[in-house]
Amino acid sequence: MIAFDFKYIKPTTAKEASKLFLNAKQKGNKAMFYSGGTEIITLARVNQLQTDMVIDIKGIPECNVLEIRGNELVIGSTVSLNDIAKSKLFPLLGDTVQRIADHTSRNKITIGGNLNSELIYKEGILPLLVADAKVKLAKGLEQRIVSLESIFKKQLELETGEFLVQIIVDKSYLDHPHMAKKRTKISKVGYPVVSVAALVKECQIQIAFSGVCQYPFRSFKLESVLNDTKVPVMERIGTAMQHLPEDVVDDIQGTKAYRTFVLRNVLKDILEELELTK
């Protein structure tokens, strides 16, 4: 049971949602945008999160879109992980999100919620980073479209009152050779020891990681090392390990040494398979 009360509002436009958020803030109240709500409910239940208001953005039509529009795939932020996987519109994204949580939870977890998660994993972002995705953000009357990479610095850096409306992926990325690999500690359902999404574009492997560091990342420096095919695979992997953005996570899911071991093996599998497709 959630021990504190909050106001629940379900606006039907992005403008209205943003206005509600800003008005609440102006009055000294805390508001949160609510999509699937799984994380808000679980954290609120154990008092790790408090809010005065939740603004359910599932009533905003723009947030529920999942379709090809011209040369772009448009994914609304409130689309569930299962609906993304079932659509088969972006197979790499489908393969990745299909390994997040369990099947029943994926009916509720949304891509926007996953990207904005407080957890360190946010695996849904990996295919979007390697596909150079853009995001549409809304705040008040304004909407802006920016590259995901430009606003993802360990987490989505949104302005106060701003929220994720849509994710936009260039259609040309949807059918590139790709691979998603997730390794968990024991069961198939669980947080990743290592999760990786990769695709091949113009003979170059673009690759992003979760579970390795305290946040998901894509590193151009690391990619350039991995793509240097003049160097033997294991040597490239050894060098790549020196270009991780920070220390490898060392926790109950996996020690630093174990995660590093798993990462090396996952990278080996990915390089060997994807280089055949180049």
Partner: protein, 162 residues
């Protein structure tokens, strides 16, 4: 725009098992609480309340959902099916016939999930069955019998109430 106030309880309507019910809830009440404490539908069980165990599973719009991870106010316009709405269903019978029950606490959640599985995918293969069943935990570890119940039902082709 739907709006429910912060502190006071509100009267909402929930569409459960083909009937419309009144419920008086806080915005912060989960669907699980509303079903059990307002509607007296205690088939959905309180387990982990964290979306991990599946004991509270119900169908929302025909899709299996953890009722502990939805707010009651969030689903006022959606059809909900609980275990009470699947009485005498082929899947319930298959669980009995295959002894897919031990202590019984997880059973409603499993039956609801399996009902959705076999009606959505009457041709489900082992991989798909495993993917769906991973959403529920049986502390008695009776997984083999539960899997057998699903297989029996799929083989019989009797996936809907007749």
């Amino acid at each position: 725009m739907n709006s429910l106030s912060k502190t006071s309880k509100q009267l909402i309507q929930l569409h459960v098992n083909g009937e419309t019910h009144d419920a008086v809830v806080r915005s912060a009440d989960t669907l699980l609480i509303a079903l059990r404490e307002q509607l007296g539908l205690t088939g959905a069980k309180r387990g982990c309340e964290n979306g991990d165990c599946g004991a509270c599973s119900v169908l929302i719009n025909g899709k299996p959902s953890h009722s502990c991870l939805s707010l009651a106010v969030e689903v006022i316009d959606q059809p909900i099916t609980t275990i009470e709405g699947l009485m005498d269903s082929p899947v319930s019978k298959a669980f009995v016939d295959n002894w897919a029950i031990q202590c019984g606490y997880c059973t409603p959640g499993f039956i609801v999930n399996c009902h959705s599985l076999i009606t959505t995918h009457p041709d489900a293969n082992d991989e798909l069955i495993e993917e769906w069943l991973q959403s529920n935990i049986c502390r008695c570890t009776g997984y083999e019998e539960i899997r057998e119940a699903v297989h029996t039902l799929l083989a019989s082709g009797q996936t809907e109430n007749e």
